[in-house]
């Protein structure tokens, strides 16, 4: 067959290509190129939209009929499960780290703060979208109450769920932390958050993808850098799979 050499040649080229690609992917040049592209997107988005520019909000009629749960949809921790059945009477949300006045709030106290209600779209990194109505206090209000110290550059969310043996966490910078649509939601579509959607408290960071929307939040931590947290990439999926820290694209 005349076809054979050509085929093996093609296979050879493809294999060389694949080998070259995996080398390229792991090279420092590629990593710095990816980082530059990611920073470029973040800087451009914020230059065009402004730091406080709002994500679109929808009407009640535009909500999706249900809201998909993804990633962790249940929490194994026995204390969590016990609290879930009782409505989280003893659940505490801590605000800690680089703050002058650390806080530990009950769910009732979180609900008593000034509230924001927003109907927004949730975009998963995989491509799907759902629309829901969220309610909760703005993160800015909590950070102001705890008095964030100078030198804090990021806010880290510590979560109760464990995936692949690791604690879920996420982080955002101060621009998104003080964005008006960044809220700690306790309500979805008028009901307390279901377990699959992050009961009792989850983050909404509306200008970023789903993996930033930390669920089952236990603590909000102001930090100088996230280098020493997890594997140092700023979030669970960033550490585990190498997802971009800026999830705005």
């Amino acid at each position: 067959m005349v076809d054979l050499p050509r085929r093996s040649l093609l296979a050879g080229i493809a294999a060389m290509g694949a080998a070259a690609c995996s080398k390229i992917n792991e090279s420092e040049t590629a990593k710095s190129l990816f980082k530059a592209a990611e920073d470029g997107h973040r800087i451009t988005h914020r230059a065009l939209a402004g730091k406080q520019g709002l994500a679109p909000e929808y009407s009640r009629a535009e909500r999706s009929p249900t809201f998909r749960g993804n990633g962790s949809v249940t929490v194994a921790d026995p204390f969590y499960q016990e609290q879930l059945t009782k409505g989280f009477p003893e659940w505490k949300l801590e605000v800690r780290g680089l703050v002058e006045k650390p806080l530990a709030l009950t769910l009732a106290e979180v609900r008593a703060l000034p509230q924001r209600t927003q109907i927004t779209r949730h975009d998963c990194v995989e491509g799907w979208s759902a629309i829901g109505e969220w309610q909760g206090p703005q993160l800015a209000a909590l950070l102001d109450a705890a008095k964030v110290k100078e030198g804090a550059n990021f806010i880290v969310f510590r979560c109760a769920d464990v995936l692949y043996g690791r604690d879920y966490y996420e982080s955002i910078d101060m621009v998104d932390a003080y964005h008006p649509q960044t809220i700690i939601a306790h309500t979805l579509n008028g009901e307390p958050l279901p377990e699959k959607n992050g009961a009792p408290l989850r983050m909404r960071i509306e200008r970023q993808l789903g993996y930033k929307q930390a669920k089952y939040v236990k603590a909000i931590e102001a930090v100088k850098s996230f280098d020493d947290i997890g594997q140092g990439k700023g979030g669970f999926w960033e550490d585990v799979a190498g997802y971009q820290w800026y999830a705005g694209v």
Binding site: H41, D123, V125, G127, W128, I131, Y246, G248
Partner: protein, 240 residues
């Protein structure tokens, strides 16, 4: 006078590389959620208008499923693609490539003009300039497919929507924009296949995209005034 301006040649090869990376990483990203929807939301396969096949490893970058790396390549290659598209549009408008080669008249869209262009093209290559089929095809690529690719890509980025919420409205919602992104990608792929096949029939065309080549009509004997130098029909009266 070169057949292809330097700006055209530079853009052509940078864009070719960007588009190959974007397309093949795009297929990898498609594998993450293989359902397309219309409207703003969509997550349930039973609401999908299209269930997409799982693209095999040989067609994707990287050659196995890796959403993080595919996205890194995709959002990186988006820069030369997007900036390049702006660059080539400005260059085409400034150097006259657009007006000369890509604009059409109603007559170019008639079946007769299409048949004539195909006949001229299959001849001895004596035809010069862009024939109606080329004008229409390249016009669609530059005017519709490439910009649609860019704008749908921007629209599905949650960080960009705060800058241009109107874009999502124009495109019919985020999942519609995602569907159009997919459709336009295959439209460009279709053009890519035709483009490669025709270029391979006469490999000198590929060489010319490096060297610039020579414009056929520049060497021609004294030519009659080109149609686009004539005064517009409904304009001022003819000379003197």
């Amino acid at each position: 006078m070169k057949k292809h301006a330097l700006s055209t040649r530079l853009w052509h090869w940078v864009n070719a590389a960007a588009i190959i990376v974007l397309f093949m990483t795009g297929l990898n990203i498609s594998n993450a959620h293989r359902y397309l929807y219309w409207g703003d939301y969509g997550f349930d396969p039973k609401d999908a208008w299209l269930s997409v096949i799982k693209f095999p490893g040989w067609a994707t970058i990287p050659q196995h499923y890796n959403l993080a790396l595919a996205r890194d390549w995709h959002t990186t290659a988006a820069w030369p693609f997007g900036v390049g598209l702006l660059f080539i549009w400005v260059a085409m408008l400034v150097n006259g490539h657009f007006r000369r080669d890509l604009t059409t008249t109603p007559r170019d869209w008639t079946p007769g003009a299409v048949i004539a262009s195909v006949k001229a093209h299959s001849g001895d290559g004596a035809a010069h300039g862009y024939n109606p089929v080329q004008r229409i095809l390249y016009g669609m690529v530059f005017g519709v497919l490439l910009p649609l690719m860019l704008f749908t890509g921007l629209a599905i980025s949650p960080g960009f929507q705060a800058a241009a919420p109107w874009l999502l409205d124009v495109l019919g919602g985020r999942q519609s924009a995602r569907s159009l992104h997919f459709i336009a990608a295959w439209g460009i792929f279709g053009f890519f296949v035709i483009h490669i096949v025709l270029a391979l029939i006469d490999w000198r065309l590929i060489l010319e995209m490096f060297t610039g080549g020579k414009r056929a009509d520049a060497a021609a004997p004294p030519a009659p005034p080109e149609p686009d130098t004539m005064p517009p029909e409904d304009g001022a009266p003819a000379h003197g």
